[in-house]
Amino acid sequence: MAANPMTQFEVYRIGPEIKINQIDISFTNASLFMIISALSILLIFNLGSSKKNIIPTKIQLLAELSYSFISKMISDTAGNKGKPYFNLIFSLFMFVLFCNMFGMLPYSFTVTSHIIVTFFLAALIFIGVTVIGFIKHGFGYLKLFVPSGVPLVLLPLIVVIEIISYLSRPISLSVRLFANMMAGHTMMKVFGSFVISLGIVGGWLPLSFSVALTGLEILVAFLQAYVFAILTCIYLNDALNLHH
């Protein structure tokens, strides 16, 4: 049997062990790809924004199209009130997208395939949105859990369900991204190992599957970044405009 498809998700130390007060913060392959992603985003968007041409260059067009894409997404879901959070959502989307896309390179490491990373991001969003909600509406934000037009008998049940659904937001947000990434990469690895084990005779079928999966995974990489960003926008919308 071929190599374990889960070994691609293993985190290992690069360089010396760094410890602060018994806490291990060593530089790992995950850290490396986080930094590569962040630096590539900065490089591309710096190149895309340094020239001020009226007729944009290709890289400038890329930067400006991404800008208007996120901008439109925010104004569609959260309205004008969501505009101050543009920078955060843009950074989130780009970071998740680039981490996903870098994961598609062979022998690379997929940062977003780790639950701790996605959960940290999701928790950040969850806490941030909750804080914004309480700042904007005070204790009135708790009305979020009390939908209007519900019969009084059902109300306790509905409130409990609403609270559970609200609290499960960071979990669903993080697990969605992490599971998609992990499943896709595992599948690709499995089909890749089938190619090796079936050899020149039978390996063509899993190879074609692998090629198709690569296309699908690139789509998923974009889609999951988009879903991550748009769900952030929707949560933000709940906090900014109390609809219930």
């Binding site: 985190v11 924004s49 800008y67 780009m94 595992t186």
Partner: protein, 196 residues
């Protein structure tokens, strides 16, 4: 949502246990907490730097670029519209000018024609007058000549007759008798030579 999570967990636990039967460690490396803190630490650093640099330096520039382009395009459209109306006005003026000059040219032509016709008429009249005068003068002369002609003819006739007679008979004849004869003849044949 919870259903989904349970579904995923079930799916992956079966999937993974099937696949990694032969693996030494087994399970998911994601659930190994050895590097969790490290990952969070580096995530904070990389994402923090990304967020700060993007929001402080890069995104405002892109926003400015887009706004600049928008305003420039609006400006260009405005000036284009202005120039269009200007061009239209100029065209209108030009057309008006051409129409006016055409009318003027027509007027000039008409005036010139009228003048020339008048001139011709005047000259014709004066010419006619002169011709008439000439004609009347000539007529008068002719009339005088006509009046004087018989006398001269008589004289010539008398002289010729006396010469002839002298040659024929070699004798002087009285002029008065010849003139009497000539007169008589002339009176007789007057109607034949000068009949009007």
């Amino acid at each position: 949502m919870l259903k989904k999570i349970i579904f995923f967990n079930l799916l992956f636990s079966t999937f993974i246990t099937q696949i990694s039967k032969s693996a030494e460690s087994g399970g998911m490396p994601q659930l190994n907490p050895e590097f969790w803190i490290s990952q969070i630490f580096w995530l904070i650093i990389s994402f923090g730097v990304l967020f700060i640099v993007l929001s402080k330096f890069i995104l405002p520039k892109i926003r400015d670029n887009i706004e600049l382009r928008k305003s420039e395009i609006l400006d260009n459209i405005e000036t284009a519209e202005k120039q269009k109306t200007e061009a239209e006005n100029t065209l209108k003026n030009y057309d008006e000018l051409i129409r006016k000059s055409k009318n003027e040219a027509k007027n000039y032509f008409n005036d010139a024609r009228k003048k020339i016709i008048e001139d011709i008429e005047k000259k014709k009249q004066t010419l006619d007058k002169e011709i008439n005068i000439e004609i009347s003068k000539a007529e008068a002369e002719v009339a005088e000549l006509v009046k004087k002609a018989p006398e001269k003819i008589q004289k010539i006739a008398i002289e010729t007759s006396s010469d002839l007679i002298r040659q024929l008979i070699g004798e002087e004849v009285n002029n008065s008798s010849i003139s009497a004869i000539v007169d008589d003849l002339y009176k007789k044949n007057k109607g034949r030579y000068y009949g009007n």
